[in-house]
């Protein structure tokens, strides 16, 4: 250990050695340096500060990837984010803590279609907060519904679907009550006055996602031109691809996307929601837009059986999750790391692409790639140690090992 002589900060410098890190879209044999919760530039440290590492950790040839970001997760471990309770905070805390072992370092708790009373009770209780040993960071809430199509409601309860045709954005605001912590809104763009709503949400920095919709391609393109940037679980709850009207799926190769913008699309790669061939078609058509999501429900992490999803009762058999008594899929019990592994296997893509679909792309979607989603210098030190088959060995947030909760995992 070298006596360190740093001019910028006295905080300890940790050097992760004997590893392959994901940087510049490639796995490289480089060490990862961390100080004060951020990724440190070791060359700058060496020449400008004449500094060196205080602690060196041997990662035994692990892969180091940016922490996963899940932008669609409805609950887990018995917790349902859409259930109106007095104590939504402890439910979110439990899930945020448990998903650390799946490699998720930041997430968007998702609420499915619910009556206004639920939104009014739940939303004020959720706050955006950094992750840490207490759990993954909360980037904001994803509101999926109620402004969605009746024909593509999927598992959403019909009697709580709404339109905003009379008051446009004011209707939306009245329904949700409180937009302070909202990060993503999924809506059906074919609904009357959706343009105004999309514009206003975009103006407020809220990401608009298209889903649970029967929109045709022009309606979808119009929505993107108004500001929409995401597609909620591609293929599911939308019109199937048709060669004369590809519908929302056609956005993947549309030439009407405004210059400099990219349309992202969520995919649940749990082996159930999408046939691997369909997953491959989407991936090959538009690899840089693919965002892996779990769409996990309360039953995730628990034994098979009955659980709730907002106003519905769900039955879980193995990996399959249906509305009780039906064959309608509703959410999943997949974990993020298993989605990454399944995606890798089903598409035959590179390890780098699989990892980026769960980290870089969601960060780009939310416009936070200067802080999260990469191992670039000065980014937040949220990262994972993985073995060669992409099983999570350890999870770090702000440079601190948050899972497993004991001494250095390796």
């Amino acid at each position: 250990m070298m006596p360190s002589n740093k001019s910028v900060s006295d905080a300890p410098i940790v050097q992760f050695t004997n590893c392959q890190i994901l940087r510049n879209h490639q796995l490289q044999r480089e060490d990862l340096w961390v100080r004060e919760g951020k990724i440190l530039n070791p060359e700058k440290l060496f020449f400008d500060e004449k500094g060196s590492a205080d602690i060196q950790l041997d990662c035994k040839n692990s892969i180091i990837a940016p922490g996963f970001i899940d932008v669609q997760i409805n609950g887990g471990f018995g917790v349902d984010f859409s259930l109106a309770t007095e104590d939504i905070k402890s439910g979110i805390s439990l899930v945020s803590q448990k998903i650390l072992s799946h490699g998720v370092t930041s997430f968007c708790p998702t609420l499915v279609t619910s009556p206004p009373s639920v939104y009014h009770q739940v939303l004020p209780q959720i706050s955006i907060r950094n992750g840490g040993p207490h759990g993954a960071g909360i980037l904001g809430v994803h509101l999926e519904g109620p402004f969605i199509s009746q024909e593509k409601k999927g598992a959403h309860p019909e009697h709580h679907l709404r339109t905003f045709e009379s008051g446009a954005f004011q209707d939306l605001l009245a329904t949700y009550g409180h937009l302070g912590c909202v990060r993503i809104v999924t809506l059906a763009p074919e609904m009357k006055r959706s343009s105004e709503v999309i514009q206003e949400l975009t103006r407020r920095g809220i990401c608009v996602s298209l889903g649970h919709s029967v929109a045709n391609l022009s309606q979808a393109e119009e929505a993107v031109q108004q500001g929409a940037t995401f597609i909620t679980h591609l293929f599911n709850a939308m019109l199937p691809f048709h060669h004369r009207d590809p519908g929302i799926v056609g956005l993947l190769t549309s030439d009407q996307i405004p210059a400099g913008r990219r349309v992202f699309y969520g995919m649940i790669s749990d082996g159930i929601h999408t046939n691997p061939a369909a997953l491959r078609i989407a991936h090959r058509a538009h690899p840089k837009g693919l965002v892996l999501v779990t769409d996990a429900i309360a039953g995730m992490g628990l034994a098979p059986g009955k659980h709730t999803l907002g106003q519905q009762v769900i039955e879980v058999y193995g990996m399959n999750t249906y509305i009780a008594g039906t064959k309608t899929l509703s959410g999943s019990v997949a974990t993020m790391d298993s989605c990454v592994r399944h995606f890798l296997e089903a598409t035959g893509c590179t390890v780098e692409m699989a990892l980026e679909a769960a980290s870089l792309h969601p960060a780009q979607l939310l416009g936070i790639e200067q802080q999260k989603g990469t191992l670039n210098y000065d980014n937040d030190a949220d990262f994972l140690l993985l073995d060669d088959s992409l099983h999570v060995q350890a999870t770090y947030i702000s440079g601190v090992q948050v899972w497993p909760q004991d001494t250095f995992a390796l």
């Binding site: 070298m2 002589n5 060490d31 070791p42 060359e43 700058k44 440290l45 060496f46 020449f47 500060e49 004449k50 500094g51 060196s52």
Partner: protein, 276 residues
């Protein structure tokens, strides 16, 4: 001089690395007694650096008590530019070894007062007790560091404008775009290197053969500045076969015949590990 001729680039790189390794270890560096090494950049020494890193990673060689002084650096190139000599040294050497950053000296091509920077560099060398072993290369025009043809053989560390030969040779590192190649550099002088206790010049490849011929078989001449080392008491030239292509057969045969003597300098290869 010693002219050490190995069959190919890898063997030449290895011989040079072993020599450096032995010199450091035999010096017995410790707290307050640092081994000072002069270092080059470019493609020639890459193999040598890789071997030194290997010896370090296997526990045989530590740079904890080694001070280094690089020969040169471009002027006006940002320090973190991928082609700066700071970047080169970090990526190809410093990041893999245990040298104290305070002991790794490279000229600052972005200093406000360039001559003052050069003078300060000379002072640092003097304060370190002089250079024990200066490792260098040779340009196709026979230059050492950036002492281009016409440089005084008594020169010290200073600002130099690069010759066209050098700019052309460096263009490959700047996407082949001549307009992107820096035109000026700070460099140690021929005199600065001559002050070292020992000098080792690495020369590999057929494109360097003519320069080697001019440097050792013709006279001391400021147009081929490496020729100055004919007047240094301890110089070693380490080459591969290809670099000797312009030499007289007699010269090559003589020095090849001495390889058994040369090899005693690298065999046995010492190690800093505690032997059982």
């Amino acid at each position: 001089m010693r002219l050490v001729i190995l069959d190919d680039y890898n063997l030449a790189s290895e011989w040079a690395a072993k020599y450096i390794c032995n010199r450091i270890i035999q010096f017995e560096p410790k707290q307050g007694r640092y081994f000072t090494l002069g270092l080059p950049t470019g493609s020639t020494p890459l193999g040598c650096y890789k071997k030194l890193i290997e010896y370090h990673k296997n526990g045989h060689l530590s740079f904890k008590y080694v001070k280094t002084f690089n020969m040169d650096e471009y002027v006006g190139l940002p320090r973190n530019h991928p082609e700066s000599y700071h970047s080169y040294m970090w990526n190809n050497f410093f990041k893999h070894i245990d040298i104290d950053p305070n002991n790794a000296h490279i000229l600052d091509g972005n200093a406000r007062d360039l001559q003052a920077e050069c003078d300060a560099f000379e002072k640092k060398i003097e304060e370190a007790g002089g250079i024990d072993l200066f490792v260098g290369g040779i340009g196709p025009d026979g230059h050492i560091a950036f002492n281009e043809p016409g440089s005084s053989l008594a020169s010290r560390t200073r600002l130099k404008t690069l010759a066209m030969d050098t700019i052309l040779a460096n263009a490959k590192y700047f996407d082949g775009d001549l307009s992107k190649v820096p035109t000026m550099a700070l460099t140690v002088g021929v005199g600065t290197v001559m002050d070292a206790k020992e000098v080792m010049i690495l020369i590999t490849g057929a494109h360097k053969a003519f320069a080697l011929y001019k440097a050792i078989e013709e006279g001391v001449n400021h147009m081929w500045t490496v020729s100055a080392f004919q007047q240094h008491p301890r110089t070693i030239f380490v080459c591969d076969e290809d670099a000797t292509l312009e030499l007289r057969v007699k010269t090559v045969k003589y020095f090849k015949g001495l390889m058994h003597v040369h090899n005693k300098l690298v065999d046995p290869l010492y190690s800093m590990k505690e032997e059982n």
